[in-house]
Chain length 268, copies 2
């Protein structure tokens, strides 16, 4: 079965139909699955080499998910083998004063990939239809307008040579609890702790609802959403890497044709 | 008569109906008109002071026109009295390699005004539906797509607090000839000469036609185009300044209300 179809959200997406603990791609043997992830990550790196040489398209990967859902881990586990020459990961934090004084797409547009570049957004413009809505800082009509701004912006990116792949890392409330507790118990992980994350947990249901809405409203054929069950880190990476391979294969990448004249040139 | 209505292009815009030599606002007395321009420029500066203090909206002025049509002169003559604290003029040249490897709106979006800022675009994203079309580097469907990208982008800017005013500085082919010759005859103006401008003149009719199309396709109520007869420099400034005053008056600017508590504070 085509993995993209398998994880595609679609415009009728209902979050309740997706279970964070599912592991449809798992072999049941964790070390074997980890090995598969490594193999796929190598394969992605090989594709990216051609993609970079081709210099004809752009690739933008969006990672979204609740706190601790594994966005950083995905960057490391799935995209960690890529040549930094053509890859950039961008983490969007709470907007600065200067950023807030522009439209919400301003700082995002600045960071989109150029020809031959692969850019990974660790959070993105989707935060702007989640956080402020959950906290009542923008109203429903403003949120609807932002969905439209996103659809139009992403369509423009796709029409100007960008392949766009959006992942929602779907974890359960219980798994988040375990991960937050683990961070609090391990001194070496305290740098990852933001006490604010503990407060945001109270809004869990509201966030789930807004994720459902946002994904429905912005899942389009040129800019699809994939919903990745993310309670298992290994399976999460396996699923994301598999979708990426599928996308890259579909791009029919090839090195630019050699120049027959070059073979004859004598270097003085 | 409302000057905005008088110069508004509209979606039925036909360039042949507009005469570059017209001077509908002129008193017939050039020194008197120059004095009026100075007065209006001062008035714009006074409005901008409130606009800056208000810090609630953004103002974007787009200047487009053939070579020598007076874009630089407009910046100086109409916006020259403004406090640089809240004003920025951005000149868009031929795109760099990095800029060409992104969508055409990328470098433009980066430069849009923040809250309380007035930004003047000296050339803009409209070059991307003129130069490459005239020279056959993009085809008609791609050009149509760009019109849509522009409409959606400008609508998004307006919906996120930007007041957008677009001026087409309309000069005649003969007037351009006179101005180019004057530049070639005056050694002190040689820095302004780009020999390429002389070649682009051959495409005059094609440019006129593409300006007509571009303006028709992108004149919208939130992002209107004004067609300014520009063979006379004084009248050009008079017309642009008058439209700007009209726009600024319509914005009903006011200083933020004073805080009654502040009056009572003793500074230690």
């Amino acid at each position: 079965m085509n993995v993209r179809k398998q994880f595609r959200a679609g415009s009728e997406f209902r979050i309740a139909d997706h279970h964070p603990g599912d592991k449809p791609l798992s072999s049941g043997d964790k070390p074997a699955d980890q090995l598969r992830v490594s193999g796929l990550a190598e394969q992605i790196a090989a594709f990216q080499d051609i993609f970079y040489a081709e210099h004809r398209r752009k690739l933008l990967v969006v990672l979204q998910g609740m706190d601790t859902s594994g966005k950083d881990g995905t960057v490391r586990g799935v995209f960690g083998r890529l040549d930094p020459l053509g890859v950039r990961s961008v983490a969007f934090k709470a907007p600065s004063t200067d950023e807030r004084e522009h439209d919400f797409l301003w700082r995002v547009h600045e960071q989109v990939p150029a020809m031959g570049q692969l850019v990974i957004f660790n959070r993105s413009h989707y935060e702007d239809v989640l956080v402020p809505v959950v906290h009542g800082d923008i109203n429903e009509p403003e949120c609807e307008r932002r969905y439209r701004h996103i659809r139009e912006f992403e369509r423009m990116l796709c029409e100007t040579g960008t392949v766009l792949v959006k992942f929602f890392l779907h974890i359960s409330r219980d798994e988040q609890k375990r991960r937050l507790e683990a961070r609090l118990q391990e001194g070496d992980k305290h740098w990852k702790v933001d006490l604010n994350d503990l407060k945001e947990r109270r809004y869990w249901d509201a966030y789930q609802e807004r994720y459902e809405r946002a994904i429905r409203e912005t899942d389009t054929d040129p800019a699809p959403w994939y919903v990745i069950p993310a309670d298992s880190k290994t399976h999460r990476n396996l699923a994301i890497a598999s979708v990426m391979i599928d996308v890259l294969q579909d791009m029919k990448l090839s090195y630019p044709p050699p120049n027959p004249e070059y073979f004859k040139i004598k270097v003085e």
